[in-house]
Subunit: 233 residues, 2 copies
């Protein structure tokens, strides 16, 4: 299996970085190929803009997705985007590893999503959800956060974390055709003991070793929807 | 009323920018003060990192929120952050105006959230939701997207857009104490006629004029939760 880990934490010595390193090691030990994009270390540019396109289909008015499709067709994607897109198309499993910032990804990772999930390759027309450009691949989100698990229960103040992350799990990962695993969540990380952190690392390594036997989360299938994308029947 | 509009679209002549300009005009015509942060025009830096702090509480290990609190206490917030924070504290109504990218904000706006919603001012400890640092102020999200409204109905393939935006509406805006208006949504914008776009602009102007009479969305109140932030009773 080919594994791409996208890691985005501002502190190189963070516990989140330890999760990244543990994942790298476990996947390699298990015989998989692993590539890592450490977005902060790469100083990845997260801003989708017309500067991404050297050969514009319309130099006067930038429709970002249309310029992406033109850049794909003419082989003129920005080099930093092309490199990441090649890694994404290479992998069988995409791992997004990050600290929760405002119930979502840090901006640098949102920008990787905005720029690398290229229209015309990853999605476009009716190629989304189970017909998306990344179908056949899988995704796993691993996060750290300050909150505690009981705050995200059915009676917890925030509601389930998976609902907060719907834009990412369904709207982004499942949308592109990826089969999405249940997220791995490192709760309350800034406030817990070293022993508790080591327990999270052990649980993470166990999770990685058993990943292939897991079923993934249910998301819409285009077969169930009519031409207006409304539920049939 | 003091209104701060945060606008984030890569194309200066976009319909989304027209929504921004219309809002500016309507609020001013109605006697309100308006300030606009056009994040792309400002080349706003969206990457939260240790480079934001000139005087570190811990130079060897960056916990971003702790450095934010220290920077607030020592008056050493990064200047671009301080300017935006001052605008945020000045306003009575925050308007976020942007195109939906992957069922969320463009990265440049996510970075404004990551960097400007400063710990120790906007939230911290038990100061969140209706005890958040921005309580007493209101927020309005206005977006454009390619999708059509029926794709986001109860039988639509994506489910309600407000659920996709829960991380923003609840997890970010309501979390900081803002009263959150129902979002204004410009559906299917890239594919509709000029007449239909003008109709959206008219509806937007009408919406702005009637905003003060609206009730806002319901979000958690800390009064209803116990010390573990689990629903009481």
């Amino acid at each position: 299996m080919k594994v791409l880990i996208i890691h985005a934490h501002p502190e190189p010595n963070s516990f989140c970085a330890a999760l990244k390193s543990a994942a790298e090691e476990e996947f390699r030990n298990d015989g998989h190929e692993v590539r890592v994009s450490d977005l902060y270390a790469m100083r990845f540019n997260p801003v989708a803009s017309s500067a991404d396109f050297s050969d514009r289909v319309n130099p006067d008015y930038c429709v970002y997705a249309l310029e992406q499709r033109h850049a794909v067709n003419t082989g003129t994607l920005s080099e930093d985007v092309q490199v990441e897109l090649d890694k994404l198309l290479w992998c069988d499993l995409l791992v997004l590893n990050f600290p929760i910032f405002w119930f979502s990804t840090p901006a640098i990772l949102k920008g990787w999503i905005d720029r690398v999930l290229v229209s015309g390759v990853v999605y476009g027309g009716k190629r989304f959800y189970d017909r998306g450009g990344l179908r056949g691949k899988r995704a796993l989100v691993s996060v750290t956060l300050g909150g505690q698990e009981h705050m995200f229960g059915s009676r917890g103040i925030h509601g389930p974390l998976q609902e907060m992350l719907k834009h990412l799990l369904q709207g982004t990962l499942a949308y592109t055709g990826l089969q999405v695993h249940t997220p791995f969540i490192g709760w309350h990380v800034p406030y817990i003991s070293s022993d508790d952190r080591l327990a999270i690392l052990r649980a993470w390594r166990d999770r990685i070793r058993s990943l292939n036997g897991e079923s993934t989360l249910p998301y819409p299938s285009l077969d169930d929807f009519d031409d207006n994308l409304v539920l049939s029947g």
